[in-house]
Amino acid sequence: MKIDPIRKTYQSRTVLDTCSMEIEQGRIYAVAGANGSGKSTLLRCLAGIEKPDVPFSVTGAEQLSMGYLPQSSYPFKMSLLKNVLVGLPRSGENVSRAKDLIEAFDLGELSSSRADRLSGGEKQKTALMRILMRRFGLLLLDEPTSAMDPRGVLTAEELITSHAKETGCTVMMVTHFMKQAERIADEIIFLSSGRTDGPVELSRFLSGQAGDAAREYLEFWGA
């Protein structure tokens, strides 16, 4: 599919100005860049949360449904299990899938606890499970593992990868960690001051062949 250029300006400051991007269905894209480089804005514009300066379209995919997990996802004031199932029919299949996800994160004992009273990492796991319960054409994840412990991070990555494989959805995931990008992503969309050249192969990016800004970013990671 092809995503038209997206431009977003806040009070005369351009925070996002992307070129047209070719996205391949079923692949996982890491979205990286320094703070304020426009990663979250890109995802928010794609999800329809933020209004870009000019309307854009995504072509090449019929009726593309988009799921979006915000950076600080809201835990509803209900049990963990109910949070994971929120808005879904309580069918046996859904309940069983929700319980499997909860068990994968080793949170079975907490499934009847109020999600808004869990720890930061547990809340983030709940939010991730909630979105993985659904099928989308494009799944947008904004730093979905930033508050998780290392074991939780690996479980989350496994779940995201298997979800993408099972449903055939495309994933765009914001991350600050190159190791995580290496583990999970096929390609990387690197943003610098709101601009990007579009997705590049991870190996090309990591070998410093994706421009000066990307090289500078990688140097920091090497330090």
Partner: protein, 228 residues
């Protein structure tokens, strides 16, 4: 004070017909008006909190002005509307409990709107964004938001009820404090005090406070159960 307290206990124990009628009318009027104000005010407050730009600011200023509407002015407006020369005279609402409820709704609804708007402003963004990200429809998102704010909604209801039960200016103008018909606790307190029976007025005041206390304790327990 002691005499008033004893008289309040005696009055309740005697199940005095007039007192029972006053309590019944007071509760009927306060519960109905605060519920109606809640049903009107919460959705309006929620919509206002989601609004943007100058229209929102204008509506907030108008609502804040209405929040300060003096009860006697509200009573006067209703009196003019419902009186024999008013445009709503055919409804025959003057000196009726229904008329008193309408006056109370006019007074309390802006307060409910203001409370809801202040609480939801900024708080709903996270809820809405998360729900939108999950692909939930607008109606579902709205219900989810209300569910998330249930504690605040109950508090807002209590606030409205407290205003309704304690109000005297508008209800005395619209209701006329007619015995066995539109006399409520506050108008009765005023009436007996004006007649020189301060002790009875104080006794009624104690009963009024006890009614508010019982309701608040009940709702507090309910909230604690719901919030578990």
């Amino acid at each position: 004070m002691k005499t008033a307290l004893l008289q309040a206990i005696e009055l309740i124990a005697s199940r005095n017909g007039q007192l029972m009628n006053i309590i019944s009318v007071t509760l009927r009027m306060s519960i109905a008006s605060s519920l109606a104000a809640l049903l009107l005010g919460v959705p309006m407050g929620a919509l206002l909190s989601r609004g943007k730009g100058i229209p929102r600011k204008v509506l907030i200023v108008i609502n804040r002005t209405l929040m300060g509407l003096p009860p006697v002015v509200c009573g006067l407006i209703c009196y003019i509307l419902f009186s024999g020369v008013g445009p709503l005279r055919h409804l025959k609402l003057l000196f009726t409990v229904k008329g008193m409820i309408i006056a109370q709704v006019m007074l309390i609804t802006p307060l409910v709107i203001g409370n809801t708007e202040t609480y939801l402003n900024g708080r709903t963004d996270g809820i809405d964004e998360t729900a939108k990200g999950l692909g939930l429809a607008a109606g579902r998102r709205f219900l989810l938001t209300l569910n998330e704010c249930r504690y605040q909604i109950v508090s807002t209801y209590l606030f409205g009820f407290s205003r309704a039960i304690a109000e005297v200016g508008a209800v005395s103008m619209v209701g006329g404090a007619i015995a066995f018909k539109t006399n409520v606790m506050t108008t009765a307190i005023m009436m007996y005090t004006n007649m020189g029976n301060v002790t009875l007025g104080l006794a009624l005041g104690i009963i009024l406070l006890c009614m508010a206390l019982v309701l608040n304790v009940t709702v507090y327990i309910l909230q604690a159960v719901v919030d578990r």
